[in-house]
Subunit: 209 residues, 2 copies
């Protein structure tokens, strides 16, 4: 079995959000697909270890914010590499409440769903949602997962279904200890308040490979 075959499946880049006892929370996801057109249903697959999984199950609703190619990569990092259990992700990322659901402002569309079915898998829960709200929130081309990897040089969180252990960074390069982003330039020349472009961590979170 060649894991490279899996890389040929196409995905987008989404923030899947829910309410956590009145506080908005969410996580980065690449798997959100429309399943039926009438009534419109959408499914998402969320790791059981993600705080968002429990919040969707508890509140019975989720929203999918579709990121576009110009969306700030730090949004992906904030939602993909930190836990909503101990960090208020939406305090760091501007959002609006649309159809009573928290939606990332820096997006091109959102889809709000009520959970009508679930499927259990070894590590993820597949939530099937009936759509009750969906709007375009901005222009811009939807970001594909390929764009995120090839253009933004983004990394995949360990909880993602598409996670594969990556080749270690070349010796001497600085690597973000949270998201694995490799800084290619002169690290010491960066200003002190520089942060990881993928997950927003400070310079102190970087280690030498």
């Amino acid at each position: 079995m060649d894991p490279k075959a899996f890389y040929d499946l196409s995905y987008g880049v989404y923030i899947v959000s829910a309410w956590d006892n009145g506080r908005p929370t969410g996580c980065t996801a690449n798997s959100a697909i429309q399943v039926t057109s009438s009534p419109a249903t959408v499914l998402v697959s969320i790791n059981k270890d993600n705080h968002t999984n429990r919040c969707i199950a508890d509140c019975g609703h989720f929203a999918v914010s579709v990121l576009h190619e110009q969306s700030d990569p730090a949004v992906i990092g904030t939602f993909g590499f930190r836990s909503g259990k101990d960090f208020d992700k939406f305090a760091a990322v501007p959002y609006d409440v649309k159809d009573k659901m928290p939606v990332v402002r820096d997006s091109c569309a959102y889809i709000a769903c009520k959970v009508i079915g679930t499927m259990d898998t070894p590590t993820h829960t597949v939530f099937l949602g009936e759509v009750f709200g969906a709007e375009k929130t901005g222009g811009g081309r939807p970001m594909t997962y390929a764009y995120y990897h090839n253009v933004i040089k983004g990394k995949t969180a360990k909880n993602a279904p598409t996670y594969q252990a990556e080749t270690p960074a070349p010796a001497g390069k600085r690597v973000c200890s949270v998201c694995g982003y490799v800084y290619e330039g002169d690290f010491d020349a960066l200003p002190d308040d520089w942060t990881c472009p993928v997950c927003g961590q400070p310079k102190s979170a970087f280690r030498k490979a």
Copy 2:
């Protein structure tokens, strides 16, 4: 609810295949996603009216052939706009048997799965499959659904989750009665053996809009 929001979800273009009592069959699909990485599982969503749906349920296995940007659009049309019940699709499209599953030769990768779970939805069945074989079958960039629509100018079958009624073709243009492809040029100047580039129908299948 604005259906344009749904267009911002990203997909690939796949042929999902199965055995129909020893004969290979399949259908075009845009929704195939990896759900877990260990063990590797992949899900596909197939309309209940599709012959392939019953064949996957009966044989308990499916394969996903990933099409690439140079794949012949007629493959998509053959598998997307005709029924495997009364038409031997694989007789018209070269294939190989890989890991005991029929796989489209004109692809860049395949993933072979054993069904380990299903989720019922109003019109589609979501099949969850544990991967038992996956290989790269060729080079080329995986075709995205956006590429199929924007570059190939492909159409969406009525059974697809992403189907939306389209604006009628301009009066006088010739439209394929099977897949909805609109021929923009001088139709009468086409040779008699010309076929629809999307679904392979002959000239006689075209009607004036």
